[in-house]
């Protein structure tokens, strides 16, 4: 590379925008269909257990509801352990009622390990 070419590259680089983005002030937009944290709609769930069967990491376990909700929800419902989850979305794809859905939420780092286990809860009853 000759001196003129070098200067050309140098000047171009000097006045061009950086390739990186300044997170968290700006961020790359996450597209639709991203595999992030699961969203679970208990009212549509038929307790078929397919999500727990297909999960490659055994991160989904079918559990009973706490006593206070047992009357309304007598069956077993999925409890998702995000520590084991590899976000493969097989649970979303196999769900016959589409009640498990992957969202765009990627901010899952937390100092409290109990919050990453998503227990089945009715809507408005404290999701986690």
């Amino acid at each position: 590379m000759g001196m003129i070419q070098t200067m050309e590259v140098l000047l171009n680089t000097l006045f061009s925008k950086p390739i990186t983005v300044q997170f968290p002030r700006e961020a790359i937009e996450i597209p639709e269909g991203y595999r992030g944290e699961q969203e679970y709609d208990i009212d549509n769930c038929i307790s078929c257990g397919l999500c727990s069967q297909i999960c490659p990491n055994k991160a989904i376990e079918m559990v009973e509801m706490p006593e206070e909700y047992k009357e309304k929800y007598p069956k077993k419902y999925p409890k998702i352990d995000l520590r084991k989850c590899c976000f493969c979305a097989l649970c979303q794809d196999i769900c016959p009622k589409k009640c498990l859905r992957m969202t765009k939420n990627v901010f899952l780092a937390t100092p409290d390990p109990t919050t990453v286990v998503k227990k089945p809860m009715p809507k408005g009853g404290g999701a986690i």
């Binding site: 390739i19 790359i28 269909g33 991203y34 595999r35 397919l50 297909i54 493969c88 097989l90």
Partner: protein, 381 residues
């Protein structure tokens, strides 16, 4: 003071005190998760002994306890740097066993994704080699441009690095999103831009550090089991995509780059020319992309109803590093009875690397090491 090299106990120093043991890796950014034990005399390598096993995760055994759909998620992890290519090898092996006819559109999507994966893998190769040679700009540039391809993967598969079984048995997990074509074309222009930059740097930094270094003669390459770009750089015109075509490669028009020198520089040249060929393939795939289904059957089967018919199969594909293969045997259960993964890096990292390092200078170790485009993950599995 006694030290182990190979299986023999030898003294670290000779009587004159010029010989010593030198460890390259395994937990060093310059080596990846892989180590080489070297016996050095002054600046010259007397003998080299690869030390594999640092990244062993036991995928072959894990696959014996999971159904194919779950295994396709695991198959990503065989090589972190090119997960989609390994997805494809696994999916083809299962398709061959089950006898499912993969829809035409799915075949095109598979090739599109495999070639994009090859492009980003070659960019990593360039980046890793640059940093090995002390050329940090090349490393940052390559990884920066690789991110444009990762953005595409994020859009298509839903994840940046791991597609987690996007290419699955029977086709692909989901259809391409709207407007993918313009986005792929835009990324290809950016990749052409980086290839141009790489070529500009070739004559200065790379040539002086790589020409005549680590020469692998064709005879030795064949004897030691080299495949893919490493074998092509030694002068053999071979490519599984042409020799044993899979998916739609037989319908596509592309060349196999061959170099005669067999040194580290020739391997770098092969890489650049292959990237251009991949762009050519992607353009053809985008032009001819048919409409239709992307998976057969379109719904994921419940695990209890899955059965792999009895039989055995050996599938080989051209992954970015060479020839990647899977041997799969089924005895009619829902899980495979045995899965054997043959990663190209295994032979590149043990016999080929040991052969090339013998007699080399210490300063040339990174140049030789990274010119082999190795991936500790696919070697240890």
């Amino acid at each position: 003071m006694k030290n182990l090299i190979g299986n023999k106990q030898v003294s670290p120093f000779t009587e004159e005190g010029t010989e010593y043991n030198f460890y390259f890796g395994p937990s060093h950014p310059g080596s990846g998760n892989f180590g080489v034990k070297l016996r050095i005399d002054g600046e010259r390598v007397l003998s080299a002994r690869s030390d594999p096993g640092y990244l062993h995760r036991g995928f072959e055994k894990l696959m014996e306890y999971r159904i194919p759909m779950q295994n396709s998620v695991i198959s990503d992890r065989v090589c972190v740097l090119e997960p989609l290519n390994w997805n494809l090898v696994h999916a083809e092996a299962v398709d061959e066993l089950t006898g499912i006819e993969v829809p035409e559109r799915a075949k095109y999507i598979r090739v599109l994704m495999a070639e994009l994966s090859r492009l980003q893998s070659h960019l990593i190769w360039y980046g890793a080699m640059s940093i090995g040679l002390g050329f940090d700009t090349g490393f940052k540039m390559a990884f920066g441009y690789r991110d444009y391809i990762l953005d595409l993967f994020e859009l298509i598969t839903g994840g940046r690095v791991y597609p987690v079984g996007y290419i699955c048995p029977g086709g692909v997990r989901r259809d391409l999103p709207n407007g993918y074509e313009e986005k792929v074309m835009k990324v290809l222009t950016q990749i052409e831009d980086i290839i141009q930059k790489i070529e500009d740097f070739d004559n200065t930094v790379f040539a002086s550090r790589t020409k005549g270094i680590g020469i692998l003669e064709l005879e030795d390459a064949i004897r030691l089991g080299a495949t893919g770009p490493i074998l092509r750089a030694s002068g053999m015109k071979t490519d599984t995509r042409k020799d044993d075509p899979y998916e739609i490669y037989s319908e596509l028009d592309f060349d196999i780059p061959v170099e005669q020198a067999g040194d580290a520089y020739a391997r770098c040249m092969i890489r650049e020319r292959e990237m251009k060929e991949s762009i050519k393939i992607i353009n053809q795939v985008l032009e001819r992309m048919p409409e239709g289904k992307v998976r057969e059957p379109s719904k994921i089967m419940p695990p209890k109803r899955v059965r792999i018919p009895e039989g055995e199969v050996y599938i080989r594909n051209e992954v970015a590093r060479g020839e990647g293969s899977i041997y799969m045997r089924s005895i009619g259960e829902k899980e495979p009875y045995r899965v054997k993964i043959r990663g190209p890096s295994f032979l590149h990292m043990i016999p080929v690397l040991e052969h090339l390092l013998k007699g080399a200078q210490i300063a040339d170790i990174p140049a030789i090491y990274w010119s082999l485009n190795i991936c500790p993950a696919d070697m240890d599995r």
